[in-house]
């Protein structure tokens, strides 16, 4: 429906543009116009389209909310007596029935008669809102076009007005970036505060027990649920360390080779290939980890375990025999592969930024290439490389799909890379992909975890950017 309105609006405002342009030309025959006719047309188009567009978008975004509020405010007493979630479900069903659908729940007694009445009312309210929005939009378009039409005079400074509008619109575009940040911070903080009302923040940050099950009945085992996130932090840290152990050396040595040894031809081949590695979606890495790396690592460790059982290292052998497909090592190793291009391209840039004069000085003293790299280039590039590594760490912490598919769900505090561990991101996904009420402690816990993740990655990025920036300035 909205699409049709938008099309009609587009046709209307194009017509206004053409008419206003023609009018501007006609009226400018005696006096020379200040602005070209096209700018008069554009000014009219802005007035015809923009207010109506804003009204249409606001109406389609908020009419469901308004309708709900109206219906709840004037609902019959039987409905008012319901508790909040049931009432919301009732209103939702009333809207569905009003739109000609089937109710999702069964309502008995008073409620079933009330449902029919409410449904009729819902469709009335819905119609009124839809018509109201539409009429307001039409009025706005007509009034806007009329106003602009009256301004179409030769002395009117249409170009300046249009350009002022354009620069405001451009500023609004860049304000979206700020709005996004505000949105992220507000939604995370708001929901987290509600979570910390039920679970104290100290228990969340320092508790060592994570079992976010909320029982349906009060007498069930583990009915309280525990929200100590330390096992998740440890799991995230462990996987991050493994990933950096893989990505750090391989990425750094690739960067050194690319920057110092490879000629332009080799670079032209190797760089795009590494970029492919960076372009592969993470879910593909997850699939690779779960179905290729996991089973082969497990087979390998089980085989070693089978060799050791009965020997002097019997205990270790028994342990290795129990290794599962899902373990920290698999997720970490595959994540490391994913991070190689990230580390190498950042380090490559930084090594390239080291001034050639430093290298030349070292060569002049008779040092070999590798000696120059180890004693001159790397020490000079060290802060920048540290920044690159910090950015990679922040990537590793925030990565979701690989760990969701390959690390497992068991929240345990261990540093053994062969155990299944769980991470912050995995838990966010698990907590939010089940079927549950939005306001339960379980879903709010996900926002608490999200806030922690956001703050940690923000600090890492900020530090990394600062380091890289000061480093750049040093050699500029």
């Amino acid at each position: 429906m909205l699409l049709i309105y938008l099309l009609v609006l587009a046709v209307f405002s194009t017509a206004v543009f053409v008419l206003a342009r023609r009018a501007a030309r006609r009226r400018a025959t005696v006096v020379k116009a200040h602005s070209a006719a096209g700018y008069h047309g554009a000014w009219a188009l802005i007035w015809a389209a923009v207010p109506a567009l804003i009204i249409l978008i606001l109406a389609s975004t908020f009419d469901a909310r308004i309708e709900r509020t109206v219906l709840i405010a004037s609902a019959p007493e039987a409905v008012q007596a319901l508790d909040a979630p049931r009432r919301a479900a009732f209103i939702e069903d009333a809207r569905i029935v009003g739109a000609g659908g089937m109710p999702r729940q069964i309502w008995t007694g008073d409620l079933s008669t009330a449902l029919q009445e409410e449904a009729a009312r819902a469709s009335r309210v819905d119609g009124a809102l839809a018509w109201g929005g539409l009429i307001a939009a039409i009025l706005a378009a007509l009034i806007g076009a009329g106003l602009a039409w009256r301004q179409t005079r030769p002395e009117f400074r249409a170009r300046n007005r249009v350009e002022a509008f354009v620069s405001v619109a451009l500023f609004a575009c860049s304000a979206v970036a700020i709005l996004t940040t505000i949105g992220i911070v507000a939604s995370l903080v708001f929901e987290s505060l509600r979570f910390f009302q039920t679970v104290p923040i100290t228990e969340f940050l320092f508790g060592t027990q994570w079992s976010p099950q909320i029982a349906i009945r009060a007498d069930q085992v583990g009915s309280t649920g525990a929200f100590g996130a330390v096992p998740l932090f440890v799991g995230t840290f462990l996987i991050m360390v493994i990933a950096m152990l893989v990505a750090g050396p391989i990425g750094l040595f690739s960067a050194i080779y690319l920057a110092e040894y490879a000629g332009p031809k080799r670079r032209a081949v190797i760089k795009p290939v590494l970029e492919i590695l960076a372009g592969v979606p993470t879910v593909v890495y997850g699939f690779f980890a779960a179905l290729t790396v996991g089973p082969s690592f497990r087979a390998f460790f089980n085989w070693i375990g089978a060799q050791l059982v009965g020997g002097p290292l019997d205990g270790l052998g028994q342990h290795l025999l129990l290794v599962q497909n899902q373990m920290a090592l698999v997720a970490g190793a595959v994540m490391g592969i994913m991070l190689i291009p990230f580390v190498s391209s950042l380090s490559d840039d930084i090594i390239n930024a080291v001034p050639q004069s430093l290298r030349d000085g070292s060569y002049a003293m008779g040092a070999t290439r590798s000696e120059t790299i180890k004693r001159v280039v790397l020490p000079a590039a060290l802060p920048g490389i540290a920044g690159a590594f910090l950015l990679a760490v922040s990537r590793a912490i925030g990565e979701t799909m690989i760990v969701t598919m390959a690390a497992g769900l068991a929240a345990r505090t261990t540093l053994n890379p062969l155990d299944t561990v769980t991470t912050v991101t995995v838990q966010i996904v698990t907590l939010l992909t089940g079927d549950q009420e939005f306001d339960s402690a379980k879903t709010l816990a996900a926002f608490g975890l999200g806030l922690t993740l956001f703050v940690v990655t923000l600090i890492l990025n900020f530090a990394a950017q600062r380091i890289v920036q000061t480093y750049r300035e040093q050699y500029d």
Binding site: C173, Y257, T400, G450, L458, N461
Partner: protein, 432 residues
């Protein structure tokens, strides 16, 4: 240290032999160091080859499927022409198959049950369609080509076999014997699996396809592109060409750099809290997915556009201004058209990235099972990367090859987009 050794050697008059030896050692160290670099790159490329190789190895079989040709007697006593849905076609077909193999069904009908398991769940639909379209065939003996089940398909592809204990196998000895007999009768045909591209998600692996997810992803990218590109380009133009240097501009810049590094899952939380719970937009719809991906792609588009604008030499701007153009005219008539190839390249790469993004979509409800093709941006839908995730989780063996095939489809789309970006860069790139 090296220099020190050399000086001392010269001063103390160390023999040339000693010097040669130390030089040899240093050159060996040099070669080793270079070798590490080569090794590192070889490892990275090796991993890439392994990754792609494994996916092709696991997925190529999914593009192939088998059908069985069989004769069916459409018994008028069992088919009501007015209501073909009421007929148990699975059973009907299975009985005729058994008769063809010369097997007597027992009292408990265990043989026909085993035979039914070998056939696809799509058999009933196909027979219903046939009878509905040509009701006059009822009572005839007709030859039809029917799809076989996922396990039988895997057996013909050589991925399931008769090893291991019978009770733990997907196929029992009797079923394997029948499958072999049917093949020996020449009734089994291999063909290209068009269903993979014309069907949507299903609980039955042999009926599952990627169409719904492809359409969902396309709708989502449409929303993302129509929001992220204009807003991103506009923001970049403002920051690069119009913004007064000051506090607000600095804050916006720092902001954008930080947004580019926020983990994608946090955008999913934002989408859940704002778009679904606050604005009540429909869950698991391409609209919400596209909005979230647009916010994610925005910093990338802005950064790419800014560097493209920066690459246009100031002389162009100055020439336009000198000819009496206004600032806005100089930017929109001269600078932006010259920066367009760079903008397009960056945008396409950002869109390719958005296409492969999975984590935020999980949080806005896209993991739910959606069997159809989405009709609008507000209807429930799946997306290609999410489909990969869902299928990977499915326990049925036959889903594994389909997961790899879905990944291949996803990668093909990404390769096309990246190739387009590279082509644009090569074709229109201008060095000043």
């Amino acid at each position: 240290m090296t220099d020190a050794t050399l000086t001392r050697a010269g001063a103390s008059g160390r023999s040339t032999a000693q010097l040669r030896k130390s030089l040899k050692r240093r050159h060996a160290r040099e070669r080793r160091f270079k070798l590490y670099g080569v090794l590192a790159i070889a490892i990275a490329i090796g991993f890439l080859a392994l990754l792609l190789g494994r996916i092709i190895e696991q997925g190529h079989t999914a593009f192939w499927t088998h059908t069985v040709q069989t004769e069916v007697y459409l018994d008028p006593a069992r088919i009501d022409p007015a209501y073909p849905e009421g007929t148990n076609f699975d059973q009907l077909v299975a009985e005729q198959q058994l008769a063809r193999l010369g097997v007597q069904d027992d009292e408990a009908m265990s043989a026909s049950r085993d035979m039914r398991q070998l056939m696809s769940a799509g058999v009933a639909f196909e027979m219903q369609r046939l009878v509905r379209e040509n009701p006059e065939v009822i009572g005839d003996r007709i030859t039809v080509t029917l799809p076989i089940g996922a396990d039988a398909d895997l057996y013909y592809k050589g991925e399931l076999d008769g090893e291991g204990e019978e009770q733990f196998r997907r196929l029992n000895d009797r079923q394997i014997l029948w499958l072999d007999q049917m093949r020996d009768q020449g009734r089994i045909q291999g063909q290209f699996n068009t269903g993979l591209f014309t069907r949507s998600d299903s609980t039955q692996p042999e009926l599952a396809g990627v169409l719904g997810a492809v359409v969902g992803s396309a709708l989502m990218l449409l929303v993302t592109a129509s929001l992220a590109l204009p807003i991103g380009v506009g923001a970049a133009i403002y920051l690069e060409e119009f913004a007064p240097k000051g506090r607000i501009t600095d804050i916006i810049e720092v902001n954008i750099n930080n947004l580019a590094a926020v983990p994608s899952i946090v955008y999913g939380l934002l989408g859940l809290a704002v778009f679904i719970n606050w604005m009540h937009l429909p869950r698991s719809s391409p609209l919400v997915g596209g909005l979230v991906l647009a916010l994610m792609a925005l910093p990338t588009v802005i950064i790419a556009t800014r560097s493209a604008l920066k690459a246009v030499p100031p002389s162009i701007r100055e020439a336009a201004l000198a000819m009496g153009a206004s600032r806005t005219q100089a930017v929109f008539h001269h600078v932006l058209p010259l920066a367009m190839p760079g903008v397009m390249t960056g945008s396409i790469i950002a869109m390719a990235h958005a296409l492969g993004e999975t984590a935020p979509l999980l949080l806005i409800g896209m993991v739910s099972f959606v069997p159809g093709v989405p009709e609008a941006v507000t209807s429930p839908s799946s997306a290609l990367p999410v489909l990969v995730f869902i299928w990977e989780n499915a326990s049925e063996r036959a889903f594994h090859e389909r997961t790899a095939a879905a990944i291949m489809v996803l990668l093909v789309f990404m390769i096309i987009m990246n190739a387009a970006a590279i082509y644009l860069r090569r074709r229109f790139e201008r060095r000043w």
